[in-house]
């Protein structure tokens, strides 16, 4: 190696930065080159100035104490991560709970609407019942349903004869032909029903108050025609008037729900309506309106009190479910059942005897 070493090569050699082969070549050259030795010595002296920075440093006790204090006051990493994940999990849980609640509520209400009348209602049609549920704002009533669900109603067993029961539909049909004024018909109907109906004749298909959802449904199905004397349920509501309306009280799983639902509005000019008064154990009263369209036998329920919201109704069965909000806190779901046996219930106008 005849060329002189440059400063970089000399420094790399001095600080052991070059490869083994390079080091060997550089050393061989350096051994026989006085000029490179002089430059190497000069560089070595220059870099010896770095030793001035190698002063012993003593950390003050104050710094050590402050550092240890800062460490102790610092939130542990696990806690910080846990807190972060806690917040994240909490937010996710709230979001998920909201979604599940809304979804469950939708499903529950649909299920209750579909299942509550099964054991009692007698649907003689082969076509599926269509329940139309529309979301309503507080005041206005939407004409167009937002959500539509179809539910297949099973074929019920042969009904027990109930000759003594009033036939509000038939009565209303008759009244409609003679007196077209709905309110007058209502008053006549209520008066006649009250006169003819004894308390023992009321249909009361309430499930045990403590029954769970499945047991409650089973009770309704297994005792479709059980006749009992109506009495207030510990949980909810009973009917004050008219007496031909039975009520099933089911505590809902939701609280403070402000959703108002209303069945597709019956636009029949010949609609008949009955006010159904309810009361609960706390002597709170509510009133709902049952409305029957003579042409289609659709039953609708109108909101006439803020504490009562329409839930749904089966257009082919004389039953409907309402949600009662007595305190705005706890919601109860009631199924109002108008007893109408096979002989008296007529789905079509032309079939009314």
């Amino acid at each position: 190696m005849n060329q002189h070493l440059n400063n970089t090569q000399l420094l790399d050699l001095q600080f052991d930065l070059c490869s083994e082969s390079q080091s060997q070549r550089f050393r061989e050259h350096l051994a026989g080159c006085a000029e490179c030795q002089a430059r190497a010595a000069q560089l070595e002296r220059k870099f010896a100035a770095l030793e001035s920075l190698r002063q012993p440093v003593e950390a003050p006790e104050r710094l050590i104490a402050d550092t240890l204090r800062a460490v102790r006051l610092d939130t542990p990493a696990s806690a910080r991560h846990a807190a972060w994940w806690g917040w994240a999990a909490g937010l996710a849980a709230v979001a998920m709970l909201t979604i599940v609640t809304v979804t469950t509520r939708e499903s529950l209400e649909m299920t209750q609407v579909a299942s509550a009348p099964k054991g009692i209602m007698r649907d003689r049609t082969d076509r599926p019942a269509q329940i139309e549920i529309g979301f309503l704002d507080e005041a206005p009533v939407k004409e167009e349903p937002v959500h539509v669900a179809e539910i297949e109603l099973p074929q019920p067993p042969a009904p027990e004869p109930a000759p003594e029961l009033p036939n509000p539909m038939e009565f209303a049909e008759t009244q409609a032909q003679s007196e077209p004024t709905p309110h007058a018909e209502e008053q006549v109907l209520l008066a006649k029903v009250a006169k003819r109906m004894a308390p023992a004749d009321m249909v009361f298909s309430a499930a045990p108050p403590n029954a769970s959802g499945a047991a409650r449904d089973q009770a309704q199905i297994s005792q479709p025609a059980a006749r009992q004397v109506a009495k207030p349920s510990a949980l909810g509501w009973t009917v004050i008037s008219p007496p031909f309306v039975a009520i099933q009280v089911m505590p809902a799983l939701v609280d403070g729900d402000k959703l108002q639902r209303k069945m597709k509005k019956d636009t029949s000019a010949q609609a008949h309506q009955w006010n159904v008064s309810l009361s609960n154990a706390a002597n709170e009263t509510a009133t709902v309106t049952l409305q029957q369209g003579l042409a289609t036998t659709n039953w609708t329920l109108s909101v006439i009190d803020e504490s009562v919201t329409t839930h749904a109704a089966d257009p082919f069965t004389p039953a409907m479910t309402v949600q009662l909000l007595p305190h705005g806190m706890k919601m109860f779901v009631c199924t109002l059942i108008v007893e109408a046996d096979e002989a008296t219930r007529q789905p079509e106008k032309g079939a009314v005897p």
Partner: protein
């Protein structure tokens, strides 16, 4: 009976398992060394003390992720170096330059060092001005080069250890060191050639 001091790694594992005094021992064990490293790294005592606290706070926060198979010292210096680099980036410190034309008043050349290659005690006695001059030269280096130089030259770490601490390859560390030395060769003051003859007997 002589009692053996627990190793750094043992203390760190103890701290992982909730022994709070273990970190106290580590802080005290590395207090002087780390503070000196940080002073050389950032060139400012107050800033070095802030970084000292920040370093051990990060050690505390990262304790759960410490691998007991890993040597503690490179890990500690890695944390300190990255804390220093983070601070430097935040503060966007202006690099200081040293004129090559300035003469030195060095009255204590490192002649002895030339003879045996070991650090000369006389070098520690150079004037404060010269020390500041050198410190400024080191501070003018880019953070990576400066950290490599301080780790390997002043702290005695091998290039492999420095590479681990800096999270880069051995070749990168050597390249950084080589560039740092080239820069310092241009910035550091020239030793007066005549002094050698005056000092030598």
């Amino acid at each position: 009976m002589k009692t053996t001091e627990p190793t750094d790694e043992t203390l760190m594992m103890a701290y992982q398992h909730g022994e709070k005094n273990a970190l106290d021992a580590l802080v005290r064990r590395y207090a002087d060394q780390l503070l000196g490293y940080l002073i050389r790294l950032c060139g400012n005592r107050q800033q070095a003390e802030d970084l000292f606290q920040e370093t051990f706070l990060r050690v505390h926060r990262k304790a759960a992720r410490y691998d007991s198979q890993q040597r503690f010292k490179p890990w500690l210096y890695s944390i300190a170096t990255h804390a220093s680099i983070d601070v430097a980036r935040r503060r966007r410190a202006q690099p200081q330059t040293v004129s090559l034309d300035e003469s030195t008043d060095d009255a204590h050349p490192m002649t002895d060092r030339l003879s045996d290659g070991r650090p000369d005690p006389a070098a520690a006695a150079v004037s404060a001005d010269q020390r500041e001059h050198v410190r400024a030269a080191v501070s003018s280096l880019p953070p990576g080069q400066r950290a490599t130089l301080v780790m390997t030259y002043f702290e005695g770490m091998t290039y492999v250890e420095a590479a681990k601490a800096l999270g880069c390859s051995l070749g990168t560390v050597k390249k950084q060191m080589s560039r740092a030395l080239q820069s310092l060769a241009r910035v550091l003051p020239e030793p007066p050639s005549s002094i050698r003859q005056e000092v030598l007997p």
